[in-house]
């Protein structure tokens, strides 16, 4: 829909452009509070982390390509699979989904001009960067965490792991948790309070429901991890005894605390993927999602039930049967909200007018792998079966189908889908399709044989295996698959990189998308929308009359808010326009605060408690400075 802008409108647009102008140069990026710039910084950082985690994975697969290989020493291998897990979960998937996609798209989709707390948004990025650095400093020193991302005690206790590898893990995760908590608070308030007037809960895009669910899950799951890590560090550094049987502690306390966080975590990883899928499917099926309320509900409910299933990671520790049964029921029922969405997606594609462009292909791949992974997941909720294959490669296969097949595929699809919006250029469709098929096949070849190896009895986390066990061929196939997979991913990067410079211009709305972000220019201006958009359904871009109305309002200079960085705040449920907020812009305090916090945690790892205290004081001062200006921008 080409927006015809009258001369008057043009004047208003120029005025807004002046008001919202970003600082030039690198300084502009460091001090920015623009959710789009922060989103991009998240994106590239997470992409680098993805590369690192992928490299670690390839090293491990190369080690396992045949029996008794010694490319990596046992110690190095342990650090590899630990860092692979930590990187992919905490430093890639969560920042990529909530950080990059969420930050960039959420305000656009709800028609806001920025997040609710722009400076805190910047802060959470810088803290995330800091935590990533902390972890990789450890790897560079050869002190990377080496007890698995699950980090079970007593293996992770001072007695069996005397180095400071695990301290990097403990403090790194607490540090990272601060970032995620801040981000999730920001998301929830943004979704509750910053929606464009008229976007009542039942008119909110499903993408936003997914991110709302993620934010809440993070908010309530992370404290458990924080406490677990805190106890661990107290045990390790100050000689407390939370996990030490000899002094009345219990190693299972760690397992409980960790999985209370750890299982919701799995859904935190997968839910944004649901959101991206529900954004892509209607666009390419050219029809509304089937059964909107149930899909929205499914997204929330998955996050909610996710808190009642953690012991299915612990079915083999010998709990009382009665304890395990409380979890088995939830572990089974949680399949249903996922099933609802699954069939809603399929039904939408089936009853719509599907146009299988690259993004939709990735979503189809996601559906296939999500079914495979989901179904093997159901089998794991059956206690007797779980006790057989637990901690075997069967589980590895299961959660890689779910996490890679089901969580990363939509991310890749989303990269293609929103590429035109972010860069203003179109990607190469043919290369896109090829890259999909390579990735799809690579994923299958890599992870499917793992089911069989697992049932044959190959445990996880072995740095090598003996030749006579009959695991050789399957492992060989898996490794080959891993290389194919890597090739596919590289093709995607290449495609996007080339298109960035050579791609034909995209225009505002190349795919006839359904949500608001397609109504503004590509790339969007710093103020996102010249006029605060009119919303009267979850598919505002398909309400042509509303968009026409917006153009007229622009010409009339109505609903512009051009007295500074202004954006409307609305009521939480029915989105009635309540007040006009003035947003802060480009502050240098978030990076400073993050830096001081980095100092705090790095010094804690090094066990220099007084210096850490000094940095904490500095952090407090920087927060004073932060508030010194208030929002008088």
């Amino acid at each position: 829909m080409a927006t015809v802008i009258t001369d008057q409108g043009r004047q208003h647009v120029d005025r807004l452009a002046r008001i919202w102008e970003e600082r030039p140069g690198i300084l502009g990026w460091i001090t920015t509070t623009d959710h789009k710039r922060i989103g991009l910084m998240y994106f590239f950082t997470a992409l680098v982390m993805f590369g690192a985690g992928g490299t670690e994975a390839l090293l491990m697969r190369t080690q396992l390509i045949g029996p008794n290989h010694h490319l990596l020493s046992p110690e190095a291998y342990d650090e590899m699979f630990t860092m692979h897990g930590i990187t992919m979960i905490f430093l890639f998937v969560i920042p990529m989904t909530t950080g990059a996609f969420g930050n960039y798209l959420l305000p656009l989709m709800i028609g806001a001009r920025d997040m609710a707390f722009p400076r805190m948004n910047a802060l959470s990025y810088w803290i995330y960067l800091g935590s990533g650095l902390l972890m990789y400093i450890a790897l560079a020193q050869g002190h990377a965490p080496n007890a698995g991302w699950f980090d079970y005690v007593p293996l992770a206790s001072k007695q069996f792991d005397p180095g400071n590898n695990i301290d990097y893990y403990g403090y790194g995760l607490i540090f990272n948790g601060i970032s995620s908590t801040a981000a999730s608070i920001n998301f929830i308030v943004t979704i509750f309070k910053m929606r464009a007037p008229g976007m009542s809960l039942n008119r909110m895009p499903l993408f936003c429901f997914a991110f709302l669910a993620v934010a809440f899950a993070l908010l309530f799951a992370l404290p458990s991890l924080t406490v677990a890590a805190l106890f661990l560090e107290l045990d390790r550094q100050l000689g407390f005894h939370f996990y030490d049987v000899a002094f009345g502690g219990d190693p299972l306390l760690w397992q409980n605390l960790f999985w209370i966080f750890g299982h919701p975590e799995v859904y935190i990883i997968i839910l944004p993927a649901f959101g991206i899928a529900t954004a892509i499917i209607p666009t390419f099926a050219h029809r509304r999602m089937v059964f909107f309320p149930l899909v929205a509900l499914g997204e929330i409910l998955v996050a909610f039930l996710g808190f009642g299933v953690w012991v299915h990671h612990m079915f083999t520790v010998g709990f009382a049967t009665i304890t395990t049964v409380y979890f088995a029921a939830a572990s089974l029922i949680i399949v249903i909200p996922s099933g609802i969405q699954l069939f809603a997606w399929i039904a939408t594609i089936l009853t719509g007018t599907p146009d299988f462009k690259t993004p939709l292909l990735f979503i189809v791949g996601f559906i296939v792998y999500f079914m495979l992974g989901g179904l093997s997941g159901v089998t794991l909720a059956a206690i007797p079966f779980d006790q057989q294959v637990h901690d075997s490669y069967y589980v590895v296969a299961h959660f890689h189908f779910v996490i890679f097949g089901a969580a990363v595929f939509p991310i890749l699809g989303g990269m293609y889908f929103w590429f035109p919006k972010v860069t203003g250029r179109l990607y190469n469709e043919r290369l896109g399709k090829i890259s999909f098929w390579v990735t799809f096949i690579g994923t299958f070849i890599t992870f499917f044989p793992m089911h069989i190896v697992g049932i044959l009895g190959m445990p996880r986390r072995n740095y090598t295996y003996a030749a006579h066990l009959g695991w050789t061929l399957l492992n060989f196939i898996e490794s080959i698959g891993a290389y194919i997979l890597a090739t596919g991913l590289l093709m995607i990067v290449v495609n996007l990189a080339i298109s960035l410079f050579k791609g034909p211009p995209a225009g505002n709305d190349p795919f006839e998308g359904d949500t608001l972000e397609w109504s503004t220019t590509s790339p969007p201006p710093p103020y996102n929308y010249p006029v605060i958009p009119t919303v009267s359904s979850p598919y505002p871009m398909w309400d042509k009359d509303d968009r026409e109305l917006d153009n007229r309002r622009l010409a009339r200079g109505e609903g512009l808010l051009e007295l500074g960085h202004e954006t409307p705040a609305t009521t939480a449920q029915d989105a009635i326009w309540d007040e006009i907020l003035k947003m802060p812009s480009h502050s240098a305090w978030p990076p400073v605060t993050a830096l001081t916090l980095f100092g705090v945690f790095f010094m804690l790892v090094m066990a220099h408690y007084w210096i850490a205290g000094g940095f904490l004081a500095a952090c407090g001062l920087s927060l004073i400075g932060w508030h010194y200006k208030g929002v008088r921008v």
């Binding site: 009542s200 809960l201 039942n202 008119r203 509304r288 999602m289 059964f291 909107f292 309320p293 149930l294 929205a296 509900l297 929330i300 409910l301 909610f304 039930l305 808190f307 009642g308 079915f315 010998g318 709990f319 009382a320 049967t321 009665i322 304890t323 395990t324 049964v325 409380y326 088995a328 029921a329 939830a330 089974l332 029922i333 249903i336 909200p337 609802i340 206690i383 006790q387 009267s536 359904s537 979850p538 598919y539 449920q573 029915d574 989105a575």
Partner: protein
């Protein structure tokens, strides 16, 4: 049935079942740990009755919440086209549209929460207490 119900009631209809499940889950869990992890004899809780009573109470709350959601649905169903439009996600204007949306959500949440509560409520007492799995 003319006026829209109060916010608290609405959200009880949406969340009631879920919260009841959390309560049943958490407290039962605590009992099973107290009874089975502790060295014998320290805690002599009448676990079985507590268990069954709790489940019953939780299921009761779930049913109540279900009923509220159902009532809410009927209330909004007066505007038939709203109900129809909402199912298709056409986003009819609030509050009616939103209420209907929440009603559908509440009905499903409570259905699932109830099924979990019933499954554990029946399943758990069938198993012998504190036997290592």
């Amino acid at each position: 049935m003319k006026l829209p119900p109060s916010n608290t009631v609405v959200w009880f209809g949406v969340l009631g079942g879920g919260l009841a499940w959390i309560a049943q889950f958490a407290v039962n869990l605590a009992f099973s740990f107290a009874q089975c992890n502790a060295p014998a004899g320290r805690w002599e809780l009448p676990v079985r009755p507590l268990e069954i009573g709790l489940s019953a109470a939780a299921i009761g709350i779930g049913l109540l919440s279900m009923a509220v959601a159902g009532w809410l649905y009927l209330y909004t169903y007066q505007f038939k086209h709203v109900a129809r439009a909402e199912r298709r996600g056409e986003g009819s204007p609030p509050p009616t549209g939103r209420l209907n949306f929440l009603a559908v959500v509440g009905l499903t949440v409570n259905l699932l929460a109830l099924s979990i509560m019933v499954m554990t409520g029946i399943g758990a007492p069938l198993l012998s207490l504190c036997r290592q799995s």
